[in-house]
């Protein structure tokens, strides 16, 4: 196909890509800077900001809370979301679309509204500032992704294979354990990663309902509003590395599950 304005278009496209990528390209080298203020490009290199991160017990504690909450909420989201996705795909009952839309709602409703709503309710039932409250909030935000990914996975899994298992006398639980689960494993793992990252990066709901609990994003946010501390470049770089690793695993899993990259 002949195209419009090839060269200018290429220049423009590359510039926009650079714009998209600029934040990452700046933060990573800066985290290795030896200077005590934020300057780019760094003139000397050191690991001092990584040191100051790993030697600060408050950051380590925030990391621990973040990981704990992300693990619990993503596992919960995966368990509940997968069962729901199975019911939605295989079941035939009235109001399915409505229920499906309801599961997707936390993705569409601005998180700050979810945060306000949770705050008001948690304040009443005493979940404000508690770990369970935080886990519930994060689970809500992870659920849409789980339902989305698992629905696609279950839909693309031939229902006849399940029926064969039943016809050979398997109970639902045996079928689930021996047939469905092994086949859905890659997708489930991918969905879990998505829910995990969602929780791990979450700021807004955390700011509203976490009370005294500090997660890494919450602590970062609070520090950023007050001052600019170069330790954050190190944390940011670690988070980028972490996200990129999870992204690669996610992409590989989706490919294995046949949900991505088939042309």
């Amino acid at each position: 196909m002949r195209r419009l304005g090839d060269l200018p278009l290429m220049v423009y496209g590359v510039l926009v890509l650079l714009f998209l990528f600029l934040p990452i390209a700046i933060v990573v080298p800066m985290s290795f800077s030896a200077a005590s203020s934020l300057t780019f490009p760094p003139t000397e290199f050191s690991l001092r900001w990584y040191q100051s991160f790993f030697q600060d017990p408050r950051w380590i504690e925030a990391m621990r809370v973040s990981l704990l909450v992300a693990f619990m909420s993503s596992l919960l989201a995966l368990a509940l979301g997968s069962v729901a996705a199975y019911g939605l795909v295989r079941g035939t009952f009235a109001g399915r679309r409505l229920i499906d839309a309801n599961f997707m709602a936390p993705m569409i409703v601005p998180p700050v509204i979810t945060a306000v709503a949770l705050y008001i309710v948690f304040a009443r039932v005493g979940l404000l500032g508690t770990l369970p409250g935080l886990v519930i909030g994060h689970m809500l935000l992870g659920v849409p992704y789980v339902v989305l990914i698992m629905s696609v996975a279950i839909r693309s899994f031939d229902v006849r294979i399940e029926q064969v298992a039943f016809s050979l006398g398997a109970s639902w639980f045996t079928m689930f354990r021996r047939v469905l689960l092994p086949n859905l494993m890659p997708s489930a793992f991918a969905a879990w990663i998505f829910a995990f990252i969602t929780s791990f990066d979450e700021v807004i709901v955390t700011l509203f309902v976490a009370g005294a609990y500090q997660t890494v994003p919450k602590k970062m946010f609070n520090e950023l509003v007050l001052q600019i501390n170069p330790t954050i470049t190190a944390i940011a770089t670690l988070l980028i590395a972490f996200s990129v690793c999870l992204f690669v695993v996610f992409a590989l899993l989706m490919r294995r599950a046949g949900l991505l990259g088939r042309r």
Binding site: P23, V116, L140, D201, V225, I228
Partner: protein, 264 residues
């Protein structure tokens, strides 16, 4: 279905209670909405939010369309590279990316030092803690939400349509304006609406890059809840935001359906 129960308890009920909170003290009243309309402060913040959302959306459209169009024409290998470059930032925490913009746009930041080094300006330009900084950061973060679906929609356009137009003697410009562009309008519009919705509720970037000087709805809600305890007012504002968001989401759904319709 356990999830349904969990959702009802943990999501629907809180939202309903919030709606309830917005119209009640001890009895039903629209008092909080009245206060909302009467106090110019809140209306100004609402207007400001819409303004920033509109500007950011426009910026995403201007940057995103040519990018997606260019990516469509790339060879498959390069296409994969380009898509990865769009998707990767998407996976990196919003907080991290926003933080980077402080470094880039600050008074002593990369942009200002370059401009001063080139002798183009004498004093640093105040990007940070101003609307421009918020718009730049927001655009940067939300751009993938427009580019990815638009690119996917462009890929689905049948190349033979364009070849047919060319074989009938249409110059590239005409093909683009009369055939290609009209086919992409629904998905382009859907992407723009999505960015707009997301900006309306955006919290982190305005808070950090705006430094409290660029008030947006989400940040005002945080102040009302965490610092002032004015829950009813916060609930009323949330309700307004929720309704507006849902209205735009309905528009978004119509556009995506239209887009699937034209491309099938």
């Amino acid at each position: 279905m356990p999830l349904l129960l969990a959702m009802l308890l943990a999501f629907n009920l809180p939202i309903l209670l919030m709606l309830g909170r917005s119209v009640s003290g001890l009895e039903f009243s629209l008092e909080h909405y009245q206060r909302l309309v009467e106090a110019p402060v809140y209306l100004r913040v609402l207007a400001n939010t819409f303004k920033i959302a509109a500007i950011s959306t426009l910026a995403c459209m201007v940057l995103g369309y040519p990018l997606a169009y260019w990516m469509r024409g790339l060879r498959p290998g390069w296409q994969l590279v380009a898509v990865s470059l769009v998707v990767l930032p998407f996976w990196v925490s919003i907080l991290v990316r926003t933080y980077a913009w402080i470094v880039v746009l600050g008074n002593d930041g990369v942009v200002n030092r370059t401009l001063m080094g080139l002798g183009l300006i004498v004093d640093p330009l105040p990007f940070l803690y101003a609307e421009l900084g918020v718009v730049i950061g927001t655009t940067n973060i939300l751009l993938p939400f427009l580019v990815l679906p638009l690119f996917a929609a462009m890929l689905k356009i049948d190349g033979r349509l364009l070849d047919a137009a060319a074989s009938l003697g249409a110059p590239p410009r005409t093909i683009f304006l009369r055939v290609f562009f009209p086919l992409t309008i629904p998905s382009f519009g859907a992407g723009a609406v999505l960015v707009f919705i997301l900006t309306l509720g955006f919290f982190v970037t305005p808070a950090i890059l705006g430094g409290g000087r660029v008030p947006m709805i989400a940040n005002m809600l945080e102040t009302l809840i965490n610092r002032m305890p004015r829950w009813e007012l916060a609930a009323a504002i949330s309700t307004v935001l929720l309704v507006v968001t849902l209205l735009f989401f309905a528009l978004y759904r119509r556009l995506t359906e239209a887009s699937e319709g034209t491309l099938r």
